[in-house]
Amino acid sequence: MNRESVIIIAESDNGDFSLIQSGLQGAGIYNPILRFTSSTEMLDCILQKGDGPKIEEDKQYLMLLNVGIEGSMVVVEKIKEDELLKKLPIVAYGSKQPLDVVDKCHDSGCSIYIDKSRDFVNAIRTVGLFLSTVEMPQVRAEV
């Protein structure tokens, strides 16, 4: 991915957010990060509402989403139902989530689901190394 690509991180826990940030940096990723702690903030950004940061037309994006955040699956649905926004790759993660939540991630078009309870510290660096070789889409571009 290019250095301007933006990583959206939906994580309400400060400790886990730091863990993800340092894991990505350990993989050499210093891209801009937009962090949200609630699904409302996330939706405002993606749907270009409110006073907070908003998705820009020509930038490339990827989302890391903690599905434990209340309302996160509604956000996934809204993104994947929208003709433009559906391009956004969503790497969903969570720990001890009920099977139906994991199934829903697979059904609704998340790129992958990662079980955070299995050595997440090492995992996030490996995810970062992989993401450094991945190209991201311009979420709001017409195709």
């Binding site: 790129s111 992958i112 689901y113 079980d115 050595d119 490996t126 992989f130 070789t133």
Partner: protein, 148 residues
Amino acid sequence: MKKDTVILIAEDDAGHFELVKRNLWLSCVDNDILHFKDGQEILNFLFKTGDGPAREDNCGYVVLLDIRMPKIDGREVLKRIKEDPELKKIPVIMLTTTNELHEINLCYKLGCSFYMVKPVDYNRFMSAVENLGAFLSLDGVIVPPISG
């Protein structure tokens, strides 16, 4: 991901396939890897049509897909997988030489999980495949079984 998840690689260049397979193995991927020479072959496997091998029920799959292939191209394969109510759950990773933004945007719109550009430089290509292999080998990566 689980050891019984099967990696399907659709790639018309036999040399590239061997390189990808070898480097996935080097990065500790010990899952079965199946090769398809064109888009039609992999669709036959997934949709259980034709006379060749067909997928098994309740097995998990990951697809690595080239775009430029004979008979049916990778874009069309991706489209058909993602239009199927069950097969759409399969993570599809584009692995291609095309780095045009329009193509990247289009493949994500059609539902690919990730889009990787094969670096022209040999060592960078190998390192990219090793990173992919290490990612897929993570215990925490959950790939759903496909039924029906």
